[in-house]
């Protein structure tokens, strides 16, 4: 499903050069659930953005479902992002001026789903994350963890084959975090591939495998029982 070879990402701002990723290589099979852990600033979100086709590497190769992503044009990448990838951003990236219902509808709009059906599906996913009674509030009118849950619902609403979740429980109490992880596990059992970044050990243990990244390099790749 995913094959990453010697990925480098270097940010150059004026005179300062930041090597965010330094020769990262690994594979993820279809249907796997993998956790990524590592210190703040170690390269986790940068890696997730590359995997999500939201950014391109400075060098190295990324094969997604066999295709060399670097060889794809922007419109093909957009297609892949919309159809096959669900991304939960570390800082949610919700549209603040529209309702949470509309926020969750957006990926369905890109897919051409008709309004009546769209609302029904969006409502369903918001109910799954415990926000069925707040559909018409906008993100400024709900709590931090509730926004996080809207971001999760939006990432899943297209039933993407690849789910990338960057700290999906960072703003959630333990119980709510576990409910969300149960939800991810169900999706994984149905065959969705899931890669999640977390700094919480108990959350990482829902996955079968943990990748550790430090200063832009993979230091450990551990299958857990």
């Amino acid at each position: 499903m995913i094959k990453v070879q010697n990925l480098w990402k270097v940010y150059q701002n004026g005179s300062i050069k930041v090597e965010a990723l330094r020769g990262v290589s690994f594979e993820v099979a279809e249907g796997e659930m993998v956790a990524i852990m590592g210190p703040s600033g170690s390269g986790k979100s940068t890696l997730m953005h590359l995997l999500g086709c939201l950014d391109t590497p400075t060098s190295g190769k990324y094969y997604l479902a066999g295709n060399d992503v670097s060889s794809l044009k922007e419109d093909q990448l957009a297609e892949i992002r919309n159809q096959h990838i669900g991304f939960v951003f570390q800082q949610f990236n919700l549209l603040s001026r529209v309702s949470i219902l509309h926020n969750v509808e957006v990926p369905l709009i890109y897919r051409g789903v008709k309004k009546r059906k769209r609302e029904k599906i969006a409502r369903e996913y918001l109910e799954k994350v415990g926000l069925g009674n707040r559909l018409h509030h906008n993100p400024n009118e709900i709590s931090g963890g509730q926004r996080q849950r809207v971001a999760i619902a939006r990432a899943l609403v297209n039933q993407p084959s690849l789910i990338l979740a960057d700290e999906p429980t960072g703003n959630l109490d333990t119980r709510t975090g576990e409910e969300i992880m149960e939800f991810f596990c169900q999706l994984n059992e149905q065959g969705h591939t899931i890669i999640l970044v977390t700094h919480e050990e108990n959350i990482a243990r829902y996955a079968r495998r943990i990748l550790y990244i430090v200063d832009g390099e993979i230091t450990r790749d551990e299958v857990i029982s």
Copy 2:
């Protein structure tokens, strides 16, 4: 230091009424360190905003250092916020178009500190949170946890007597989170009053006392050893 009596916060959006805080009462002595825990949506950030004089209650009383906050005018509240309170927001609220150095200087500007001294102090605090080598980057050019650390440095730079931190380690790996908590403990030993919201038990245990809030009400007030 803090005395809260029967605080209510009700949000009315059209027909929907949300009772975010429902008769909250408690006291915090000067120099105490208290943690607040509770489910997502239970009222933690709402309470923090009231304590930080960033918002006013629907009803109830809030006495800060003996003063009835509800009787104070906006300019007096602004004075209190700038001089005496350091607030770490759940979603950081950094200025994205300026450097992290400038972000941390802002509270010092309000205090009339001259440029040379301001830069020196801001640099110091950014070094304390491990970002001394990124001073001239802006928030878009650093990681989520690094932004969180900038927000912490900014909240502390005025050496406020009351520090309110809303999930200060939510985006930090365990080790970095512990370093931040060590920093808070030092400040507490120097006499600063600290109230922090967290969903992580190990972070809460740095405090001497944990308040539990569920559906806008305090359900437990536990001194821990």
